[in-house]
């Protein structure tokens, strides 16, 4: 297996049942990765969720998690291997 490139990606997971829809995370995200869900959670809030098409742009800056008052956001970093197999 030949690994041509390996790069680090980050992604966030939002616990929708802890989100109280203050949207601080949306305000501070410089890549606009986070959006407002059409669905509501058990509190009746339109919770924040990562936007599917933009999720790969997350840089792992953690600003959203740092501003979240409800500790609903966990930030993960993973090493993705993009390679040709020959």
């Amino acid at each position: 297996m030949l690994i041509s490139e390996s790069r680090k990606t980050s992604y966030i997971v939002i616990d929708k049942d802890k989100c109280k829809a203050c949207y601080y995370c949306i305000a501070v995200c410089s890549k606009n990765v986070i959006g407002i869900s059409k669905n509501i959670n058990r509190f009746g809030f339109n919770y924040a969720e990562p936007i599917e098409e933009k999720a790969h742009e997350c840089t792992g800056c953690k600003s959203c998690a740092i501003m979240c008052p409800d500790i609903a956001i966990t930030v993960y970093s993973s090493r993705v291997l993009e390679g040709d197999i020959d």
Partner: protein, 265 residues
């Protein structure tokens, strides 16, 4: 990518502090208390204080702070958290009591306790969450309410001639010799939250070294009682609170300057 399963190989670079049980908070949407409590949880984790820390619950929105930490805790009468923390520290010098107090609790009914605890130089940590009103009881006038600010008990705004002027607690306590570290921080953007975390860590380290009280005033969002949208609340702090309550360090003993070098961030 967002809906894929979490891979075991993936590394959580930001997660809930281990010392905080997995439970939703009782705070209103956008409340800064949640951020303050998480920062304290991170510091308790980093300093490995799970067996030493004692959480002293005060009255106000912070009343159930013992629910959010996996440490022993006790409850104090209104405003008396510094007095209860003093008793714990003097009876058990190996333990480390800390309290989160709101501005109605600390600056109003508990003013005598905090001033005398600071003057005695007790080795305790006090985190003062200042949101310029009595949050839990419905947003009434507090000693820290800004001039001209509407609250549910000053419906025409706070007037200097009738209600007096707001109290700057950090500056007042900084005139005393007892406290080791006094600082005012804000939570209005991620950079300032990082600074707040650093200040809180120093406020825990200084009393642990026996240097005196660690005191951090946190300018905290209260969008529900300020009657602003949560997303506009950080800007409200910048526009209204920081001109009245300037950020910065007001007291830092020379020994604490040495400690600061060990604090990351």
């Amino acid at each position: 990518m967002s809906n894929r399963g979490i891979n075991d190989m993936d590394n959580a670079i930001f997660r809930r502090p281990d010392i905080m049980p997995d439970r939703a908070t009782h705070f209103c949407p956008g409340c800064g208390h949640g951020i303050t409590q998480r920062l304290i949880g991170e510091v308790l984790d980093d300093l490995r204080l799970r067996d030493k820390a004692i959480c002293v619950g005060s009255i106000g929105c912070t009343v159930t702070s013992y629910l959010y930490y996996d440490v022993d805790g006790t409850e104090a009468p209104h405003g008396r958290a510094p007095a209860v923390a003093t008793a714990i520290k003097r009876c058990h010098p190996d333990l480390h009591p800390f309290a989160i107090q709101g501005d109605g609790d600390l600056a109003s009914i508990g003013m005598a306790e905090i001033v005398h605890a600071a003057a005695r130089g007790e080795n305790i940590t006090i985190i003062f969450a200042n949101n310029a009103n009595y949050g839990m009881t419905g947003g009434q006038l507090a000693p820290t309410t800004l001039v001209g600010m509407y609250t549910s008990s000053t419906i025409a705004g706070r007037k200097e001639d009738r209600h007096g002027f707001p109290i700057r607690v950090s500056e007042m306590l900084a005139t005393l010799d007892g406290p080791a570290y006094i600082s005012r921080v804000s939570l209005h953007n991620p950079a300032n939250v990082r600074k707040a975390r650093k200040a809180i860590e120093i406020a825990f380290r200084a009393p642990l070294e026996g240097l005196g009280m660690g005191f951090v005033e946190v300018l905290s969002m209260c969008p529900i009682n300020w009657k602003v949208e949560p997303v506009n609340a950080p800007q409200w702090i910048v526009d209204n609170m920081i001109p009245q309550y300037p950020l910065g360090e007001f007291k830092c003993k020379p020994e604490v300057e040495e400690l600061k070098k060990a604090v990351r961030g």
